[in-house]
Subunit: 358 residues, 4 copies
């Protein structure tokens, strides 16, 4: 199979770097263009990028000259790790020019014609992309905290029905990007507030778990209350969750549906798909971010301590890798699924894509 | 006023050290005896104690020879910072010998004739001490996480009624004593489990907020669900809390009752009493353990982010200093209140105390 | 004694806040004016300051309207916690207008007519202030890492002579101010570089330990090599030091001269003077920043593990509180000493101070 | 090639677990036996091991029944991750029975007939193993801090001669094993002492860099002074180093010899050999443990900030992964080199090995 050329928008940022790291040696895609703000454009990537990944900067991008986000691009698929302050109109412009924008930014998530996709959960929402107003299209993934909650809720919702969710998060510093949280604010500390995060968890989750009816999504009917905290953890968001169910279920029944859960990425054996989307832990003190966040290459949600809740029905601990499955890895899996389910072909046949030859 | 001689049981441990630090220059009490396990007994305190406090070891205890917990003691009041593995029978023995044991250990908290006291909340439960089977008596304070929850619930319960409590804790490492949590388990990590802690929060809270009827306490009628996590914070337990109320109340009304709350320690201007038992924060990112845990010398509960909860009625963040108001400071304030409300006098008149001349 | 009005320059920054916290209830000085950059000026302090101290913001400054650093000031003494990017010309301007600028900024430290003062070590260097070109004057304290090294070297230099110093630092994040070090750079990490820090240690130390000859200082003759690292510690710089001595000395002899060391602040019983400038530890694992940095209210240098060095003569561990004795506390002690040794009176008599009536 | 059966001694400990993780899918060796203290023996590994690695426990060991360290073993090569309190006589016993013990324990390192091997540096010292008094043999690797110092010194020593070494370490908590350092001692702290560590660095380094003359090693002639600190870093020992050289060399010359350095593991393309034993960093703030410790799979020493030293000649920062190249990975590379250089064959031919059929 010939590889598809892709661009990374916001290539110097935390999420952009993670896109580059995860796309190295990818069987479907190769990084063809790096895009950043005009002030970084025209310079070699290695000279403008403060590389923060554990691995070395891939040789094939180090000398690539960074393009500006107001230039025309030639790649078909654009992975966007842009900051939300700039992402909105730029992503829209590129979608209008015929590109498929696979975005991690929050800006278009709640647009009525843009889906928030978790391919194991709601790959049918990809249909919306074919009906968007753009020559190309926009796909988003959820906020990082929402991701793991929605992944775990999905099979429980299907099997037993969920009417109420209470979630308290303990989120990693890498979720705030770089420079992000000053060390004087978080070393040995908890910050009991993350701007906009609680609202995202309370709204995005219902859209992801919602039902596509014609051109719009009917939100899932459930009440969600989120309390978000920042803790001195590098990678990995931990969530203490309680659920109210329509149909009672024992912890063992919950564990069974979580462990049995799979979706199109697993059926299609996609390159970034974890063998199991949800890893269930039976030890009483797991999952833990510093121990478990890299299990299944950071692409699974982890769930443990599944037990009865005196207030609602079931409580548990959820964990996931916020910059992998919670950000760049999610977008890449979205693109893989979009391609392999035939949506990319359908999108290109929708009308002649004006720009992209990749 | 002549000072009352006191002993510290478990004097070499984390809580025992905190008793010693907080009792330095105390206007009512002076440390007269230090008690530890038989293997430390007979040695000078400075030679057996691995002192972990910020302040210097007080000169008056450094050369004191440690007594064994199987010896007779001469002090009237015994502050117990003993480990729960040993505390049960030893505290009982000393109570039988006529001492007033003011304990931070969990062992006797749920005894039907022993109160768990927060003097601003349930000082009337001190009556139980006069009816105990002991020649002396046993008073306990709650578990550290329970303390701050119960302090904040008390005025809300009184004003509006609380039927449901959902709480997720993020607890400091000092709560596990020394050596306690291995650094490899907690550096940059969250441990989503603390043995026995959730059960304590779910039971002790109801006893503290319960009603003394005759000789026993009727538990407060409320449903509590606790999820307890350890985080890499030195001192200070943070709690994300949601409450279901019998009578609806706005965040402003909740803040008003919390700020107006006082009790006997404030009315009696006791030496360890904070000016306000509850400090209300109006900034959206406070309270924080590393910033706020020492406010009011660590003797107040802090509450902030008081706002509506989509699932229950009100949600908020609670914080307190787990080894001060959550442990040694709580016990000392219990003793001060017991003395100044006349209970110590009443207890001594109950019958001739056989041992203690202090 | 009537209190002297003082202003705090850079009042909203980390060092400025520490000045305000330490000057609360000061017996000689009261905070009369708060000065910050023009963009903060004209607003109440509590509205522009992101207060990061453990204690509450003092009520007497909370409502004070912040002045701009280009305004005239009325206070006699100006404590400068300004950022070095702005401090240079502003401090000079105020000195020209007759104020005594007691500065923590690096800008004028190496000026030939400005002393770097540690009052226990080189209070005779205050003489330089009377001969400065300013109507008022400028006094500086050293860089925070230099402070503790120079304090410990001073008595050893005097007793035995020091020809060589090798020092490796492990410095706290609070030394970089706020927002300072991003948490993603330092959580669970060591950064083996602090810009300009090694040079400061290698030059300032020799000036402090130098000899005033006429109008200039002859640097102390010693070779210094510094290696500076940032570590995930909140407050307290730890330094591993090796010394080459002119006259051999045993560890016990070194400890004796360190413990006997005092200076004018101790002789004059100044309010901010620690009882002992140097605290000697004999345990093999002390001093430690999280345990010992607040000993003597953060105003002493701590020294421990004093033992022979196979390469040079003596090695040891040094520790001090970088924002107290290493910054704001140092400047305040400088001002106290300057006043009580009669220098302020002499400076004001030098010629009629044109501006300051305080 | 048929794989050689190996046993892991101390299989439940931190280093033992790392052996198991690193030996998974090893092309030369397979884990045939797990050995632990008698109290763990007779139980399945997954039931006695508190697995702390990031990866899952390999399926092939999970159900293996643990053997006791007083049983006979059948594997030819025994990797010892035993605690030093027990390792001495047990390793000796197995060596007497004909096994090759490849040990990370300190007990036999300084035995006159046992080499401390870094295969890039002193593989000729393997000759000593053939002359040991044992039917089998004992090979050791150095202490973790010594490892990275000796690796970096070796090529500099060869090219320019080193007469003096001054080193200050900042060591990770994983170096102390589990439970190891209590979190209350190290969170936000520096402990300026690690028992025995300074002595090991000062003695082992000279043995590794020494010359084999007949049956004994002549220590390298250099003076070493070490100061060892524990810092709140999970993995990775950082070292600030100054060197005195016999022949002057510029930083560029030093970097050139470090980058050119290779040895038998590279020449033989051994499975655990890093492409380059020493990674040179030219950025001014690298290497850093949290960023660089996994470069080259944790098997290289990292060196950076190579610059002139005012006291000695050259100073630099060294970093390495203490539990990989500093422990289990070192031992495995030692075994690989021993096998591929023909020493294992020679050892077995020395006399008929009585026990081991592997």
């Amino acid at each position: 199979m010939e590889k598809t050329p892709v661009a990374v928008l916001g290539a110097t940022g935390t999420v952009g770097q993670k896109f580059i790291a995860l796309l190295q040696n990818h069987p479907y895609f190769y990084v063809n263009e790096l895009v950043a703000s005009p002030k970084s454009a025209g310079t070699r990537y290695k000279e403008v990028c403060n590389w923060k990944q554990d691995s070395f900067m891939p040789a094939e991008v180090a000398d690539m000259v960074v393009k500006s986000s107001d230039e025309d691009l030639e790649s078909l698929i654009l992975f966007s790790g842009m900051d939300s302050q700039a992402a909105g109109p730029i992503e829209e412009t590129y979608a209008n020019r015929g590109h498929l924008v696979v975005s991690n930014a929050k800006n278009h998530r709640m647009d009525p014609d843009v889906p928030i996709i978790i391919p194991e959960v709601n790959s049918d929402h990809f249909d919306m992309v074919l009906r968007q107003k753009y020559a190309g299209g926009i796909i988003t993934n959820s906020n990082c905290s929402t991701m793991f909650l929605a992944m775990v809720l999905a099979p429980i919702q299907k099997a037993f029905g969920v009417h109420t969710v209470h979630v308290t998060t303990m989120q990693a510093i890498s979720g705030a990007g770089y420079p992000g949280v000053p060390s004087m604010d978080i070393l040995g500390n908890v910050i009991p507030f993350i701007g906009g995060e609680e609202e995202k968890m309370e709204t995005e989750t219902k859209k992801i778990l919602g039902t596509l009816r014609g051109e719009t999504i009917l939100d899932a009917e459930m009440t969600i209350s989120a309390q978000c905290n920042r803790v001195p953890v590098f990678d990995g968001h931990t969530e203490s969750v309680s659920l109210g169910l329509h149909e009672k279920a024992s912890p063992e029944e919950i564990m069974a549906v979580l462990e049995a859960f799979t979706g199109p990425p697993q059926e299609l054996s996609l390159p970034s798909a974890p063998e199991k989307p949800i890893l269930v832990f039976r030890e009483d003190n797991r999952p833990q971010p510093a121990r478990d966040v890299w299990k299944n290459a950071g692409m699974s949600a982890c769930a443990g301590r599944i037990r009865p809740c005196p207030v609602l029905d079931i409580k548990m601990v959820i964990l996931g890798h916020n910059t992998v499955r919670g950000a760049a890895g999610a977008a890449i899996l979205n693109a893989e699924t979009f391609v392999e389910m035939g949506y990319l072909k359908a999108l290109r046949e929708k009308d002649s894509l004006p720009v992209c030859s990749g």
